[in-house]
């Protein structure tokens, strides 16, 4: 082939190919195939053990329409938000203390190395003893699951901050405290967001597991409790609807974190999208 045409041939897309299809179509096709496989498996296993996609969709629709699934989801999300908020605040305080003093740094290192490897639900029995069977126990467990990943991420962000901009902060007259809030905190934001993502994922796993073990007082047991109850009464489609809800919420929050990154650290050139 001649040189003049070879470059054209090089850039020309192949006439037929998987990679040529738009992303939504590629994902849609895979998704459809998986749903068909799910359906075949459900039919094979019988409706008592595995709900078909259609049954699941019906249970999902009904659950949101009659408000039952919605209220359980809200209970779980509210507790998760409260727990993560408490965890993030404590983590921020601990990291600030660690930045300001050597004692704080040693404390943070010791606490994270001991408590971070501990699975969140493992302290549920302790929380139940301390707080009783109530929402505070769950908040405590979730907060504990989120403090350590956030604290580790933020203190890594602080430590890797370019010393020159810290020197600039001191030079323009910032106090030590304001160097933390106005220079180190925004500089560590890429780390903080990824820490928050990890914390959120830890919190999710922890709260669903904790709700499986015990529902919060009364009828508002949360999504984990909803799934477990559905299993107990052989309401298999509802159990699947609960699982689908959890998966969809995961997608929603992933999108929200992505949007937060695009508006901040990606926009500032601190992280490539």
């Amino acid at each position: 082939m001649e040189a003049s045409t070879s470059t054209v041939a090089f850039t020309r897309p192949r006439p037929l190919g998987w990679a040529r299809l738009p992303v939504w179509l590629r994902r849609g096709i895979i998704g459809a195939i998986l749903i068909v496989v799910w359906h075949l498996y459900a039919v094979h296993k019988g409706p008592l053990l595995v709900a078909t996609p259609w049954q699941t969709a019906e249970a999902f629709y009904d659950g949101w329409k009659n408000g039952n699934l919605a209220s359980q989801t809200w209970t779980t999300l509210r507790l998760l938000l409260e727990g993560v908020a408490i965890g993030a605040l404590v983590a921020a305080g601990l990291t600030a203390f660690a930045t300001l003093s050597k004692v704080g740094e040693d404390l943070l290192i010791l606490l994270t190395s001991v408590l971070n490897p501990l699975p969140g639900v493992a302290i549920l029995p302790l929380a139940m003893l301390l707080f009783g069977l109530n929402e505070s126990a769950l908040r405590f467990v979730i907060a504990n699951a989120t403090i350590w990943p956030i604290a580790i991420a933020v203190s890594t962000g602080f430590k890797t901050t370019n010393p020159t901009i810290v020197a600039v902060g001191r030079n323009i007259g910032l106090s030590r405290g304001r160097v933390i809030t106005d220079v180190l905190a925004p500089a560590a934001l890429p780390y903080a967001i990824s820490g928050l993502k990890t914390a959120w994922a830890f919190g999710w796993r922890t709260i669903i597991a904790a709700e499986l073990v015990f529902g919060v007082a009364g009828s508002e047991g949360g999504l984990g409790n909803y799934i477990n109850n559905a299993r107990l009464y052989f309401l298999t489609p509802q159990m699947f609807a609960g699982l689908v809800t959890i998966a969809l919420l995961g997608v929603v929050f992933e999108t929200l974190f992505g949007a937060l990154e695009r508006r901040t650290v990606v926009r500032w050139g601190m992280k490539t999208s």
Partner: protein, 279 residues
């Protein structure tokens, strides 16, 4: 000589009451600790900087000239001797000694160009509108008005350094400290910024202490040159370079030769390999 704006901060006088020097460095010794052992970097430095002077501190790499600048800025304390700015001994870092660093990454990446210049003014008690207006004024002075809404990652190295200069000068410092600000730039941008700095310093009537290892840069920018040398270093000589004329004049050539001699540029290097920063 354009009076850029009224004097706002009485706390940062440009001249001492008795009309003495702005910066006084007296028998300063500087060093640093490595593994519980003290290493002396600057054995003895004594000099003064008068208001509106442009003083260049020159010396080979590792002679402690940046350490000296950091001590004036208040980041490290001298082992002995005294440093005073406008009659006060400098202890903590502060905006009366605004610094321009060598690194391009000295701007806050999460702030636009405008806010990088305006934010330090807000920190120092200016109102929002006042800070914005002053920032815009200094961005015009450094020919950056068109880029005021950009983020630092969208700027070239030379533009970043001009933003840093605008930020420092907007603070109306008693003395402007510059630590090899053009050291990481290409030769053409470097020469352009040297000329631009001369114009800006003339317009703002700032007092300048500028650290470099380039003899040409010292001669283009300075009124006086403080030559550091030896290890640990001391002030070898302080020379007047204010009225040399252009590079083609005989005086310029003679002074260039003298500085090269003082800095031992032509001397054979000892066994130890040094980086050839002196031109």
């Amino acid at each position: 000589m354009i009076p850029l704006r009224s004097r706002r901060r009485a706390a940062a006088p440009r001249e001492t009451s008795e009309g003495g020097p702005l910066l006084r460095i007296e028998r300063v010794q500087l060093g640093y600790w490595v593994d519980a052992r003290f290493h002396l970097a600057v054995a003895e430095a004594t000099f003064e900087i008068q208001p509106r002077e442009k003083v260049i501190v020159i010396g080979p790499s590792g002679c402690g000239k940046s350490t000296l600048l950091k001590a004036i800025a208040g980041f490290i304390a001298p082992a002995s001797g005294s440093i005073s700015v406008a009659g006060r001994s400098t202890l903590a870092p502060g905006p009366d000694r605004a610094i321009v660093f060598q690194e391009f990454d000295q701007l806050f990446p999460w702030k636009t160009v405008l806010h990088n210049v305006a934010y330090p003014l807000r920190v120092n008690g200016h109102s929002r509108g006042e800070a914005r207006a002053t920032a815009q004024q200094f961005l015009e002075l450094t020919h950056l008005a068109h880029a005021q809404d950009r983020y630092p990652y969208q700027l070239s190295g030379g533009m970043k350094q001009r933003v840093a200069i605008a930020r420092a000068l907007a603070l109306d410092p008693t003395i402007l400290l510059m630590d090899e600000p053009f050291g990481a730039l290409d030769a053409i941008t470097r020469q352009r910024l040297q000329l631009e700095l001369n114009r800006i310093v003339a317009e703002t009537r700032a007092t300048l202490m500028f650290v470099t290892h380039s003899i040409e840069e010292a001669l283009v920018l300075g009124n006086r040159v403080v030559v550091l040398g030896d290890t640990p270093s001391r002030v070898l000589e302080i020379v007047d370079v204010g009225d040399l004329g252009g590079p083609e004049t005989q005086e310029y050539g003679a002074m260039r030769g003298k500085l090269r001699d003082l800095l031992a540029v032509d001397r054979e290097l000892p066994e130890e390999e040094e980086d050839g920063g002196i031109n």
